[in-house]
Each structure stands twice: as C-alpha cells, then as structure tokens.
C-alpha cells in the first residue's frame, strides 16, 4: 500500500516553482486517492534512516498538518478522518513514529515527537492508544541520551496537546517523575536536561495533585530553582519560564519559596544574560498580575471563603524589588522607540514597576521619588529618561491624594522637557507620562483638578507643538491629547477645550498629512485623538463638528480616486479608509445624538452613503467593518429615509452576514441589521426573506465564531418588532432554533466563568428575540400563533431563575419577556402565567431590585400580568 515518495517530497522543496508545483499536485492526488497508503508512505519515510533528512522532515510535517488545523470546523473533520482509518494502518503508522524517536537525526526525532503528540491529542480522549505513555516512559530509562531527549520532548508536546483530565493520575505521576528526574542537576547531558525543563513547562498543568503534596512540591521547586543556576543559558531561561508559569498557576503555594525566588531572580536581573533576566522580571510581573486580580475580585476584604487569599508578596518584597527594577530602567537601547519589536530590560523593568504600583498603591511613591529627583536633571539622557519613565509608571495605582501634589510640581517641568529636551527618547517618555497624568488624574471623578484655566492653554500649546516632533514623539503627544479630551467628557455644556477646538482639529489634520505619518502609528493616533476630541465636544462646537464632516468626506473621496496602486499602496489606502470611516462614524453618532445637529447633518447623508458604498467595493475586512459601523449610525440618524439606500446597500449587507472568517465583520453587520430595522420599520419587509435566510444559516454554521450567535437572536427580535405579524412566516424556522438554544442555555452547572458569561449573553439574545416577537404580534389577530410556545418560554424563565446565575442584563430582559408574554397573549396565558414561578418569586425579586432597569421592567411585567389575569 505504501509508495516510494522520497523524490516527490524532495521536489516539493525545489527552488524551481514548476517542479515544486508538480510535486505538490502529485502529493495532493495521492492523498485524495489513497489516504491510508499516503499516511503509511509518509510515516515510513519519516522512520527510515536511509532517507535524506529533508524528505523525512517534510513527510513528518505533512503528516502533522493532516491531523490538526487552526480552524475548528476543519480540525473536527481531520480528527474524524483519522479516527475512521483502519486500526491496522494506524498501528503501523504509530509504530513508525515511535521508532523514529530513536533516530540519529535530531530533525527526524523532533518531527516525530510533534506527530506523536498530535495523534495522542486525538486518541487519548477516545481512550485509544493506552500503551503510549507506558512505552514512552520505558524509553526514558534507555541509555542513549538522544532517545531520552526525544522522549522527554515528546512528553512535553503531549502535555501541550492533551487536556489533563484524559490522563490518569498514576500516569501523570510517572510523567512528572521522569521529567523532573531529567531536569535534575545530576543529569549529565545538557540536551536531555533542556528537553526535560521545557517538558515540565507544559506538564505543570497536570501537576495539580503533586503541588498539593508538600514533599513533591518541595522537590519540584528545588529542581526548578537549581535549573535556574545551570551553566547553560537555555536551561536557565527554560527554568525561569517554568517559574513564571508556577507563579501564575500555583500562586497560593508559593509562600515557602518566595524569599529564595527573590534572591535568585534579583541576581539574574542584575547579572544574567538578557533572555534570562527578562524572564526573571516577568516572574514578578506575573505575581503582580495575580495579586491585582485577587485584590480586584475581593476588593481587599478577605473572608474565610475567599478562593485564593492574597499573600502580599509584592508588598513584602517592595523595599528590595523597587531598587532592582529602577536599576533596569537605565539599561535602555538607543532606538527602542522606533523598533516595534523591541523588548529589553528597561522596558520590562518599567512595565513591572507599573504593575507593582497598581498592586501596592501609595506605598511605592516614597520608594521611587528619590530616584526621580536624583536623575531627572542629569546630563546623561539615560538618567533623565529613566527618571521620567519611573514617574510615568507609578501614575496608576497610588491615590490621587498622594499623586496630585507631586504632579502639580512636575507638570511644568514635563511641559518644558517636552519642548526643550535635546533627547528624542526623553521627549517620547515625557509625552507618554503626560498622557498617563491626564488618563489617571484628570477628569470629573478627580477631586482636585490638575488642569486649571491657568495652565490649560499652555498644556495644549505644548502638545500641539509636540505633534510636529519626530513621529514617535508626536504619536505620544496625540495620545496625551486623547486623554486630555477624555477627561472633559462629562464636563457639562461648557468645555475648557472649546476655545482651542478649531486649532486642535487643524493640528491633528496636519499630522495626518505628514509625510512620515505612517511611522510609529502616528496617523492612526491622530485620527483616534480626533475621534475622542469630537466625542467629548459640547454643543458650543457643534457647528465646527458639522464642518468637519465635509473635510473628512473630501479625504475619503480622495482615497477613492487613486488608481493603479501597488499592493503596498493599496494596503495603506485601505488602512486610511478605515480610519476615515471610523472618524465619520464617531461624527455621525455625535451629531445624531441631539435633534438640531441631527437635522443639520442630514444634508450630507446622500453623499456620505455614496462614499461608503464605494468603500465597500474595496473589499478589505477592516474597511468593511468600519464603514458598516458608520452605516449603522447613519441609519439611526436618517430614520425611514434610509430606505432609498437599501437597493444599493443590500448586497453588502449580505456579504457582511456571510463573512464567517472575519467574524467581527459578521457581528457588526448583524448589529447594523438591527439599526436598519428600527430605522425602516415595516419598510424593511422586502429584504427580510434574504436577511432571515442568512441569519438562520449563520446560526446553523459551526464555522462561525460563537460570539456572533447571541446578537443574531437579538436581531430576530429587532426584525419581528419592525415587521410585526409579518414575522409569521419565519416563526416555523426561528422558534425551534430559539427553543433548542434556550434548552442548551438553561443550565450552566459545572461551567467556568467564561462559559457562564457566554451563556448569559446567549440567554439575553434569546430573550430579546422573544420580546421582539411578542411585541411585534401584539394587537394582531395572529397572536394565537404564539400560544403554543408560551409553556416552553415560561419554563425557560423558571429554569434560568432556579439556576441563580443570571446577570443583571438577563434578569432585566427575562422579566420583560414575562411582561411581553402576558401583554400579548392576555387571558389566553393567564393560568399558565399564574402557575409559573417567574410570575411570583422571580417577579418579586425583580420588583425589589436596586437596579432601576430591572425594576422598571418588573413594574411593566406586574402591570401586564395583572391585566392578563383580571380579564
């Protein structure tokens, strides 16, 4: 059955593209005509020591790709295909793979490791290949170190592929024993020790029970800490990766080791090579992440039943940790601000310092201030930058009371530095720090304002000037202005920004036209800032925002005129169109929010819609999404007159609803269907057959990201509300889908937080659909059609009430559905309603809720029920 494939595999890697193409076609044909033979040939090739390493490696790679895919739907197909292969064939392939682990070629061994793990990922959950782990463990005790290394690597990949639940504890124990023994200092072979250390990283998720056992945990921790001192840098790095992972996964078990860990990490940060030192810093960053989460969740108050207590490791380590991190800040690289991929000690150290500040709050301030004061005026730019970065890093966390006096002193210094400092690096960090000041210490919630009528003009002048600086500096200045504007979001009818509005807008538009605006994300930052300035503007500047519509429309028009673009240019045009559509969306939403500006805006509706339609023709996912969002906002503003655009727009709506790959686009389009329903009401009728068909297809697809499904259900409600009893013809399709989704989402027992959150989104979508349908059919002679669904819907309400895990949004929607059902079905459902738990306990609970939206819905439900029962 197997076939000689060596030559084809080599040709498939040829330089000559026609040779390559021919070989690829041959392989494809072979796979399609005889899958078992294809797999056997590849595994035979991989296992054969006589074959060239290049063909062996490619054979393994093709095999691996035939077992797994990123896309869920495709992955499922591949898994089913493997499982349905003949048992004999599979045994033969697996034997070849295991045999390859003893190969003298490290490439072949490594490829085989990965394929074995993929097969294990499919078979172990099916309780197949039970002998795999046993035979791997037997290998570990073999003499040749390269076999041992390959086997440990395989165990590592296996732990990455398989979920812990499918491996028996007994086998877990054996895997961990083998891995930890391999890591031990007395393991003489470096490759073996490295493979073992990397394997442990993946195996940590299996070690729950072992970490609860003091002796076993002590042993693992000792071996890991010893490995951080290995003479081999890769082993040290891998050992720190384990430590970082342990810090997150077993935070609550760290107390006995934290002092030792501090000692070894601080030595590594100061003395070791960068890749190791960075991991050592990352350990403390991840401890900060843990403690921030814990403190946020429990608000600092611990009761006996808190899941994980906070051990305040950061607070305890503070006096030593902060000086260590401050030292790293002086280790900047010359051009890190221009390099998108840069990550060095100074960046990692500063990031960690910021996390420490968020973890401990006020306590960090006195530890950092002397460093800032000492360095901020020094001649060496590194010292000035480090001092500024330290200051910027601690602005989130400590209380405004603590920070405001310091910021009041520093603000003027910062503004001068941003204007005059000779170092672009210092200016970059200074502008970023100003942004952080405005983000965390400026706004209606802050008691003592740091921006006053006295300094407002100076701040704006400096920032606008700075927007002409180097692209990275200008980008940070835009960011600072973004947060400056945001702080005036709810300032009332008069904004301190008003006098500068026109100048700010002009400066930002100038930035977008800079030759070098493509660098450092500058153009994007300028448009984003423009968006925020518009969002936070007041009626005083409504006229200027209206004028901006024409400016942005002209810009968008220009992007559409360019012809014969190279692929690079096209990409840039598409990006720019996305930014411009985003900006128009913000403007439309702003002007649409009040009646006078809405009417003034209407004069541009035709032109804007025409531009959007032309943008759609460009077919780029991002542009598509931004234009779609903007159209949703436009539909709201235009109301029923949107009908005139439907003929041209409809095909793009269809395209959006079918975009499974870019699910964000699909989700956004579903939202826009809702906007259009509300705008057109029954004028949407002619398009409903098409829209409903696509929505139903979306729901049945297992390719579409699950996050799009709840909004699709809500959209059913929007459509029903818009077209009323005409929804009748969709009932036979929509109701069974709603019903089965309701059954699935009624119970969450055993689900994790993420699943419960999703379930609640789904419930909300289903309930919004029911609400829309009931309200749509109200006062229609076809109300009778809904009666058969009432028992199930009431049962659904009862069961989610009993489940006690719905959030406020679901609660509000659910009690509203009860009202809608009573309102529309009236006395037809009177006795059913009276029998339901929802009409009593649930309703009472909602009536006494603190949430006014829940209460409001409940009042409505109470009224509707009383009418339904009394009639």
């Amino acid at each position: 059955m197997a076939m000689e494939v060596t030559q084809v595999l080599l040709s498939a890697q040829a330089v000559d593209s026609s040779v390559r193409k021919h070989a690829e076609d041959t392989l494809k044909q072979f796979q399609e005509q005889n899958l078992p033979g294809f797999f056997l040939s590849l595994s035979g090739e991989l296992a054969s020591e006589e074959k060239p390493v290049d063909s062996r490696r490619l054979a393994g790679l093709i095999l691996k790709n035939a077992l797994d895919a990123k896309e869920q739907h495709r992955k499922y197909e591949l898994v089913q295909r493997w499982l349905s292969l003949d048992v004999g064939v599979k045994s033969q392939i697996k034997a070849c793979l295991l045999q390859t682990l003893s190969s003298t070629s490290s490439d072949a061994r490594s490829t085989a490791s990965q394929v074995i793990a993929k097969v294990a990922g499919i078979e172990l959950p099916q309780k197949q290949w039970p002998e795999l782990i046993g035979s791997l463990l037997a290998n570990v005790h073999q003499v040749p170190p390269h076999v041992k290394q390959a086997t440990l690597e395989t165990l590592g990949y296996l732990c990455e592929e398989v979920v812990p639940e499918v491996v028996e504890q007994d086998q877990v124990n054996k895997i961990l024993t083998a891995v930890v023994q391999g890591m031990n200092a007395n393991e003489g072979n470096t490759d073996v020790r490295l493979a073992a250390t990397r394997a442990l990283y993946n195996a940590l998720g299996f070690a729950q029970a072992n970490f609860s056992n003091d002796m076993e945990r002590d042993y693992i921790m000792r071996v890991v800490c010893e490995a951080t001192l290995s003479p081999d840098v890769k082993i040290r790095q891998a050992a720190y990766e384990c430590l970082v992972s342990i810090g997150s996964a077993y935070y609550d078990k760290l107390a006995p080791y934290i002092q030792d860990i501090f000692n070894i990490t601080s030595k590594a940060v100061r003395e070791d090579e960068d890749p190791v030192a960075l991991q050592a810093i990352e350990f403390w960053s991840s401890i900060c992440d843990e403690e921030i989460d814990i403190l946020e969740e429990y608000g600092g108050e611990f009761t006996a039943d808190s899941d994980v207590p906070c051990y305040y490791f950061i607070k305890q380590a503070l006096p030593a940790l902060v000086p260590m991190l401050l030292e790293t800040l002086l280790k900047q690289e010359e051009d890190q601000d221009q390099d998108e991929g840069a990550w060095n000690l100074a960046m990692a150290g500063g990031t960690c310092l910021g996390l420490v500040a968020r973890t401990v709050g006020d306590d960090i301030v006195p530890l950092v201030m002397p460093f800032i004061e000492e360095n901020i005026t020094k001649a060496d730019w590194r010292q000035r930058e480090a001092a500024t970065y330290a200051f910027g890093s601690i602005l989130e966390g400590p209380s405004p009371d603590k920070l405001t006096p310091i910021v009041n002193v520093a603000l003027n210094f910062m503004l001068t530095a941003l204007t005059n400092d000779p170092s672009s690096h210092v200016k970059d960090t200074t502008a970023w720090t100003l942004g952080r000041i405005f983000e965390f210490l400026h706004g209606s919630t802050v008691e003592t304002p740091i921006i006053t009528p006295a300094n407002c003009q100076q701040i704006i002048t400096v920032l606008l000037q700075s927007m002409k600086d180097a692209p990275n500096v200008a980008e940070k200045a835009c960011g600072a202005l973004y947060f400056l504007a945001q702080g005036y979001d709810d300032v009332g009818p008069t904004s301190p920004m008003t006098p500068y509005f026109q100048e700010i807008v002009q400066s930002l538009l100038n930035v977008t036209h800079r030759e070098d605006a493509g660098e450092s994300r500058l153009r994007t930052a300028a448009y984003e800032t423009l968006n925020e300035v518009v969002r936070c503007s007041t009626d005083e500047t409504a006229r200027l925002v209206l004028e901006l519509v024409q400016v942005i429309m002209t810009e968008l028009h220009n992007t559409l005129e360019a012809q014969k673009l190279s692929s690079d240019e096209r990409e840039r045009q598409n990006e720019l169109q996305g930014l411009l559509c985003g900006c128009l969306q913000v403007i439309i939403q702003k002007l649409g929010a009040s009646e006078p500006t809405k009417y003034a805006f209407m004069q541009y509706a035709d032109q804007i819609m025409n531009l959007f339609l032309r943008v759609f023709a460009c077919r780029n996912a991002t542009v598509h999404e931004e234009a779609m969002l903007a159209i949703g906002a436009l539909a709201y503003v235009t109301g029923p007159t949107f009908a005139k655009y439907m003929a041209d727009f409809y095909k793009y709506l269809e395209m959006g609803l079918q975009n499974f790959e870019e699910y964000q686009v699909c989700a956004v389009t579903v939202g826009v269907v809702g906007d259009i329903c509300r705008a057109l009401e029954d004028k949407i009728m002619p398009y409903c057959d098409g829209i409903m068909t696509l929505l139903l297809k979306d729901l049945s697809s297992n390719q579409l990201h699950r996050s799009v499904k709840p909004p699709i259900f809500s959209c059913f409600g929007d459509i029903a509300l818009a077209i009323g009893e005409n929804f009748e013809k969709y009932l036979m399709y929509a109701m069974p889908m709603l019903q089965s989704a309701a059954e699935l989402s009624a119970h969450t027992s055993g689900a994790d937080d993420e699943m419960i959150e999703y379930t609640n989104l789904l419930r909300n979508g289903i309930l919004e659909a029911y609400s829309g349908i009931f309200q749509g059919f109200k006062n229609s002679p076809k109300t009778q059609l809904l009666i058969p669904f009432a028992p199930h819907i009431l049962q659904f309400l009862d069961s989610i009430y009993m489940e006690k895990d719905m959030d406020d949004v679901v609660m509000k929607t659910a009690i509203g559905v009860l009202g809608d059902l009573a309102d529309t079905l009236g006395s037809n459902a009177g006795s059913l309603i009276q029998q339901s738990l929802s009409s009593k306990d649930f309703l009472n609970e909602c009536l006494s809720s603190d949430d006014h939206l829940i209460k409001e819905s409940a009042e409505w439900a109470r009224l509707a029920i009383s009418r339904a029962i009394s009639v």
């Binding site: 990352e282 990692a348 960011g479 913000v586 829309g772 749509g776 009202g819 009224l863």
Partner: protein, 405 residues
Amino acid sequence: MAPHDLRRPFKRPKISDQQRRRELSLQRQAQHRRDAQQQARCLADTILSLQNDVAAEAEPQFESSPQSEEHSQDFDVRDAAKLKGAEARRWFAKQLMLPEWMIDVPDRLSSDWYVFARPAGKRCFVVSSNGITVSRLRNGAMLHRFRSSLPNGGARGNNSYCILDCVFHEPDQTYYVIDLVCWSGMSLYECTAEFRFFWLNSKLDEIGGGNDRKYRFSAVVVYNCDQEGLKAAYTGMVPYVKDGLLFYNKHAHYQSGNTPLVLVWKDENCSQYVVDTDSKGQVPDQQHVVLELLDDGGVVTSDDPPVKFGCLDSDFVQKTGLKTSYLLRFAIGEGGLCFADGKLEKADLHYLGKSNRARAFADSYSKVIFQYAVRHSPLKIEHLFASISSSNEEENTPCDTEMVG
C-alpha cells in the same frame, strides 16, 4: 518548544480606539433596542389605561352636556392631546390628581411618604405631541402653546407624546414638574409615585431642562419624609416661591381627581396663601366655601362620595333659579362646624351667591376642614415633626411578637 514570547504592551493604551468604536456602537444599539421595546410596550398600554380612566370618570355631575360624554368614550390620549376648546378643557379638567388637605397626620409618614416644597404658581398639565407643547390649567383652559425640548414637543418626531403635571412659576418662567403622567408614549398612570419620581428625574436629565427654549422645565427636590427630609422641605432654599408642602404616598398610583394619598399642608412660614382670599385678594372675615347643589337641594363637596354640608330649601332654589350641579358660595357663620365621632354633623352656612364661572369643582371636604382649622386650631409643623419622631420610637420599642427564628 521555543521560548515563549513575554513581551507586554509598552506605552500603549489598554484598548484600541477601534475596539472603543465597536463598544460604543454596541451600547448605542442596545439603547435603541431598549427604547424600541419600551415604546412597543407602552403605546398600547397608555391608550388602554386612559380609555379606562375616561370611561370610569365620565360621571354625570361633572358633565354639563351629554354629547361630550359619548365623545370621551372614544378618545385615546393622542386624540385628547389634539382636543381643542371646550372639549379639551373638559377632558383635562378631570385628569389632574388633586391633593387632599392634611387635616390630620397620616401614619408611617417617615417610611411611606415623600415631601417637597410646592412651587407657588399655576397648577397645570403640560402636553407635548405633534411637535408642539400645550399647557392647560386645572380647569382645562390653555395657558401656553410653545415649542419645548420634550419628546415630540418641539421638532416633530413620531407619534409619541408626554403629559407632565406641573406648576408654572411666573417669576422665572419655569414649569416645575411635580409629577409625570406619560413620557414618550409610556403611561405612568399605574406606576407608583416612587417610580414616577425616579423616571421623571432621569428623563428630565436627558432633555436637559431646555435652557434654550422660551420656558424651562425643572424638577423639584423630593425628600423622604423623615426628620431631615421634612426639615429640608420646610426650611430649605428653593429657586421658587414656596406654597406649602406636598406629601406623596410612595405606593400611590397616579389617580385623577381628589386623593388622600397626596396631601397638601401649609403655614405662614412656607406659604403666602394660608388663609383663603376672596376674588379681590382680601381675607374675608368669615370662611367661604364652594359647594355643589344636588337635585334634592343638598349642597356637597367635590369628594367621592361627596360630603353633605347642608340642604337648601326647595322654595329658595326655585326663587333664585338655581339648577342642579351649580357651584354655590357660602360663608361659615358664627355657629361654625360641629363634629360628632369625627364626622361633620352640622354647618352654619350662609348663602352668598353663585361661584365664579372659572371654577370647575366644589371645594373638597379636606380643604374646608383645613381652612376651618387654620382659623381656629391649626395643624402646626411641630405636630408633623412630633409624629415622625414618635413613629420612630414606636418602631424601636420591643413588640410582643414571639421570635421563632
């Protein structure tokens, strides 16, 4: 297994503006969906409850002509909002909820009641519909016709409408909204006062008072009627001239006509008009009352059921040409009012003449009694405070109930 990437975001905001645009769009859509639902729920609701009200309220003693009675059966509130002239007057004259006068202190004042300072001015309904806003006085007569920032009260939007219960305060040309009957097509007739006040405040915030318009809308500050609340309402500064205190039972629905669940009380410190004046603005020597004449010659208050103050001689009725349902003015003579078992037994009435034509109702029983008390032994603010503190004590005293928990 290559080393894992450990880069973290550097000098970057936590969320991108694009993500923000998505989230803000979703928020907007959710809000509009909520509004659409609300609209759907409440439109029919309003029509229904108002029709009921109209039917229930169409009692003969208030109707001078039988034709309008038939009409009123067919109205929904939008028709009512469009009514003109005499018909509109008749319809709106029956819609206001009218407080009784506080003649004794209700139980559970501090837990079940709100209190606020009543603005001095013209009590009226403000109705917005079809892009115009009309205010109508207690007797149904039109006060102003203007464009406002109320939903559908300025720019023409949809079919929605609002009905607000207001006091028009001349000095600052402001409508002080003291209650909310319908908002954007949503009826609040059957909602509790607690909910109506909450809704009123949040909706008025949304339209922002309408500073740019001819007349402003402003809410009054409503307090829980505990020691502090009563003190604040009684002595606190307000931007308007006070005319007594209004007490609202938190659980009461909006109900047309007189209700004991809303009470008014006043003394010289919080009102210029404690003792009733005559048409020239003078306090008469004797207390005047307006009562309605029945078929049998009885003269009664506007309460439901009416309280009978006396009976006119049939000869006298014939001689003066008085007809059933006329409103008549009397003075209370030296004999005063006599009570037995808390009920009015006898009144020393002296006929003065027919009442002013602008009057739509007779006086209520509570008004007569309150005015009588003001002239003889008024209910003082100290009594109100005392009642609140004594009820607090009661709550604190141990009760006899056996604890089984």
